[in-house]
């Protein structure tokens, strides 16, 4: 809520910042004021001894001006995401790996019974969601597809929205596509849903009367208090978000954004959020899947 108040203030003053946004921003201010803090952070996080990323390696996070949230992270946090041990999102991946093989429901089947090795069968899946489903006649996202499999194939109760198990399974499936470019279909039957999602993006809402586009298009790369506003790309979701101290889905992020402009959020899994999820995915087309990413 606080950030929303400041957002209003920031916008009313106009966002006339003149700073340059560089890859290595973030650290310098801390270096001057808290040299000891930098030292501690280096010990804590930089111990893997990973070298700094070069500009070339960064370019995979930058596709035709579309800029992954990764590029807004400090170097320490980038290293944290890249380190498959220290990245806390891997806790959910491990849990998902167990659930994948675990038989459940009246049919006593597991994901692995049908899909075998996730590394093969789930590769690329995350890049295509949300997708149009002909039977339901509307868009579904990965979470809903997981619960559909549970209902139809396993005869098991659905995983509750934003539960640890659903996050674990989504993250585990998502990470099988790590590095592959986002490639959702917006033509054919998906088109009306895409248009609805696009309309949602530009629709003003809430007491602050702001649309997604204000922050994530118009004022992107300018300052909002101590932070730089990102493009709001979704290629890293589910993400481990420091603000939450845990992993969260993209729908949780939509809720958070809506609440921040003092709008009543839609329920997770609602058609409105699935539509905007498709539009956001298309905005980040070509960006690599980073699940589970680290974000602030």
């Amino acid at each position: 809520m606080l950030s929303a108040e400041c957002a209003a203030e920031e916008f009313s003053r106009g966002a006339g910042g003149d700073q340059t946004v560089g890859w290595n921003r973030g650290l310098h201010g801390h270096e001057r004021r808290f040299p000891w803090l930098v030292a501690i952070m280096s010990i804590g996080i930089g111990c893997a001894g990973a070298g700094l990323l070069t500009v070339d390696e960064h370019s995979r996070y930058l596709v035709d001006g579309r800029r992954s949230g990764y590029t807004y992270l400090s170097e320490e946090n980038q290293r944290l995401q890249d380190d498959d041990f220290a990245n806390p999102g891997l806790l959910w991946v491990e849990r998902g790996r167990e659930l994948w093989r675990q038989a459940d429901g009246a049919a006593a089947t597991s994901c692995a019974s049908c899909h075998g090795d996730a590394a093969d069968s789930m590769r690329g899946v995350r890049t295509r969601y949300p997708r149009f489903d002909p039977t339901l006649g509307k868009l579904i996202n990965l979470e809903q597809q997981i619960n559909r499999c549970r209902a139809e194939r396993m005869q098991a109760p659905p995983y509750p929205s934003e539960s640890e198990v659903l996050l674990a399974m989504t993250t585990f499936i998502g990470t099988q596509s790590r590095g592959l470019p986002i490639d959702v279909r917006i033509d054919g039957p998906a088109q009306p849903f895409f248009e609805a999602g696009k309309a949602f993006f530009y629709q003003r809402r809430g007491q602050l009367d702001m649309a997604c586009a204000h922050c994530h298009e118009q004022y992107t790369e300018q300052r909002l208090r101590g932070d730089v506003i990102s493009q709001g790309q979704t290629n890293g979701f589910p993400v481990y978000r420091f603000t939450w101290q845990t992993l969260g889905s993209v729908h949780r992020m939509f809720e958070w954004c809506n609440t921040s402009v003092r709008a009543e959020p839609y329920p997770q899994g609602s058609d409105e959020y699935i539509n905007i999820e498709l539009y956001m995915a298309w905005r980040g087309r070509g960006l690599p899947v980073e699940t589970p990413a680290i974000r602030r």
């Binding site: 111990c47 891997l90 640890e164 101290q245």
Partner: protein, 106 residues
């Protein structure tokens, strides 16, 4: 969700300084936050971490409410002899999470 992750080199030279990394899933609830009804959410943290090397304690840490959720800890010790490293995380509710690793010293 509380299966800890640890990373210990499987092999080391005698006298070598080895790095050990640990990560455990835990909410680390501070006890200072309130829920939507205004009620204090009770404190629930891991308050002690210990590491023993063939029974001898080589590292201990007391944790407090300011430690973030899902604590990650890296520390160093000297590889003295082949054997077993045991890790313990002690929860406020009395639960003890454990993990162990073998190391061969040549």
């Amino acid at each position: 969700m509380t299966q800890p992750r640890i990373r210990v080199p499987s092999q080391a030279r005698k006298g070598e300084v080895i790095e050990i990394k640990t990560l455990i899933s835990h909410p680390m609830e501070t006890g200072h936050r309130r829920d939507t009804q205004g009620q204090l959410i009770p404190r629930h943290i891991i308050h002690t971490f210990t590491c023993t090397y063939n029974g001898a304690e080589v590292f201990r840490a007391d944790w407090h409410p300011a430690v973030a959720a899902n604590p990650y800890l890296a520390f160093y010790t000297v590889a003295t002899e082949s054997g077993r490293l045991n890790f313990q995380w002690i929860d406020d509710d009395g639960t003890v999470y454990t993990a162990e690793a073998e190391i061969t010293v040549v």
